[in-house]
């Protein structure tokens, strides 16, 4: 079953008096449980595509279905609920809440979902164990390395059992060894939690981790690459 179905997606950005097309008619489907990479050079539109899929940005035209639901016509509250319940995010710059410790950062989305504190804590502890940060639960993000922060971000993205996790260049700010370990972790979590992972990258070394690679160029899907 497809978790994402995109047809004729365009996204334009106004830049002064001119319109800059970022996506120019993307058609894409993503199956449940996939571990997919979107690749392309800088400015090709991969981040925009991820943002639209993740309900962070809105399409100019076209159709985007997430979990079978058309998201282009939803209001802010509905979109927010989809982000909370269906999607996990991993950002390039980690984007953790600086005033919360690791465990609190991980359980944050669960508390937004009104889960009980005990339930949230239990789930967060399980995740923090899975990402290998059990001994650092009381630390704040500023006290962690880049790799450790990204592990926290992965745990936070997975804590709500989302249908999919979107990661925009998750290894861009990490050294190659740490980046590899993060991708290993994502792959493991994909297998463990059966969660769909879609991540963008322009790093060729990352591609070997993807089961499916989508190449994007000038706002269009270039071709369906052979799974790595």
């Amino acid at each position: 079953m497809n978790i994402i179905e995109i047809n004729g997606l365009t996204k334009d950005y106004p830049l002064g008096a001119t319109i800059v097309p970022a996506l120019r008619g993307v058609d894409l489907t993503v199956a449940e449980g996939d571990f997919m990479s979107i690749i392309g050079p800088s400015g090709s539109g991969k981040t925009t595509l991820l943002n639209v899929i993740g309900c962070i940005d809105f399409a100019t035209s076209g159709s985007v279905k997430v979990g079978g639901r058309e998201i282009t016509a939803l209001n802010d509250r509905q979109i927010t609920d989809i982000r909370l319940n269906k999607i996990g995010f991993i950002f390039q710059t980690f984007n953790l809440i600086p005033v919360l410790n690791i465990l609190e950062n991980i359980e944050f989305p669960l508390l937004l979902m009104k889960k009980s504190a005990a339930e949230a804590r239990k789930r967060a502890e399980k995740l923090v164990d899975e990402v290998g940060l059990k001994d650092l639960v009381a630390h704040r993000p500023a006290e962690l390395s880049g790799g450790q922060r990204q592990r926290v971000a992965i745990a936070r993205a997975l804590v709500t059992n989302p249908d999919m996790v979107l990661a925009d260049e998750p290894t861009a700010n990490l050294d190659s060894v740490t980046g590899a370990s993060i991708l290993e972790l994502m792959r493991r979590m994909n297998e463990l939690e059966k969660t769909t992972f879609i991540f963008s990258t322009h790093d060729a070394n990352v591609l070997k981790y993807a089961r499916r690679i989508v190449k994007i160029k000038d706002g269009l899907i270039d071709k369906e690459p052979v799974p790595a």
Partner: protein, 505 residues
Amino acid sequence: MKLIFTIAWRNILRHKGKSLVIGVILFTGAFLMTLGNGVITGMAAGVEKNIINGFMGDIVLISDAQKSDNILLPIMGASIEPVTSYKQIKSILAAQPYVKHFLPVGKNLAMLLDESASAPGFAYLIGADLGEYRKMFPDNFKVIEGTYPAVGERAILIPTFARNEFYNYFNIWFLPAGGTLVAKNLKKEALENIRTLVVSTSVVMMGMTSGINSTNDIRFQVKGIIEYGALNQIFGHFCIVDIESYRECLGYFTAADMAAQVPKEEKKLLGMEGADLDSLFGSEELVVAEHKAAVKKISLAPKTVAKTAEDGVYNAVFVKLREGTEYKDALAGLNKALSEGKTGVKAVPWNKASGPIGSMALIIKAALFLFVTLLFCVAVIIIVNTLTMAALERTSEIGMMRAVGARKTFIAGMFLGETAVLSAVFGGCGIITGIIAVRVIPLLKITTTNDILQLLYGGDYFHPLLSLSGIALTALQLLAVTIAAAVYPMRVAGEITPLDAVTRD
């Protein structure tokens, strides 16, 4: 909710500088608002205690013919219209359940005369039954030299302020009869000239009136020197005299005049129209021929008529209301009753009757309210600015929260929570400090001789006062500041989208 306050509290600690700036503003604002409310309450209480309870009551009855309601300190000392229907008024007032006490008084300006002086001095006179006066205003002044007049005694009580003024006019130091100089009460200049100081135990005053009646110069025996419990600078212009002396001074009918009123039948003797007056002056007859028979029939002994002070003329009636009385209702009810009774008087509120005193009290109160409101606005503006800047600086964090599913209401709640925590901590400290200040300031006995400051102080010394409702009012004001200050930053923060966080990165 716990999560919001956890984040809010930790953000406050994380951004100590900004938190401190907002905190100091909230502390200062809450402190000044508490103090301001204390001053306003203290002033209202002082006005009530000193002016309403101690000088003129809640409501003043004045003649319908009186053009200006300001009878206490009229412009150029304009004379006050007489009230001649007190007995009728008395019965009406006695029938009103909300009237606690009332006192008829005479009040006008008098000239102070001295044969050796080139120009007269001036003083306001309040004429009253001195026994009743003490019942109406039992502790509004103390007699610092001499004694309080006995019932029915004719006398004048001179306030210390007026005595100093009199000295300025004539270089005469007035003393109560039988009194001696009290060094500590002497005006500085009088003390310096004590060897040549001229003293007097009586004062000559002549009533001033713009009415048709002529006034008389009366020599008053100084019975006591008084000091008002508060607002001595303002009330010190008013000498208190017995009502009969007052009436004589102002040229009004006195109770004694009423006693000598000619009976109806004797009035015929005055009907001289058509009588042969030439015979009266051309013979040894004392009565014109037409009335000879009548004179023989009537007794020439004085007729017994009511001989009470209440029969004479007053200028106003001071009325005190019972506690808990609805002021406007009482005023309206009284005016209705007085009008229906055709008394020729009207009831006016104390603040109108007291003229500049009441106006100044209201102006000062309004100014204080304005000050507190301005403070409120300035605090809101500064906090709004600081919080808005904080919101924009935290775009990534807020955008990320939105990206992982935080609704706008959560973000707004987070900002409100931060402001609320700051308000509770710093504003709370400000309120507590304000309460302490309000309690400590009266102990310092900060005094003033300035009239306006005395009104602000609510008395002779600065005496701010805070009731529980005053504290609650300050807390409400602080709450309003908190909400008003958080609204715009909440809106700004709520408008931050996940995309803002991504693009900022």
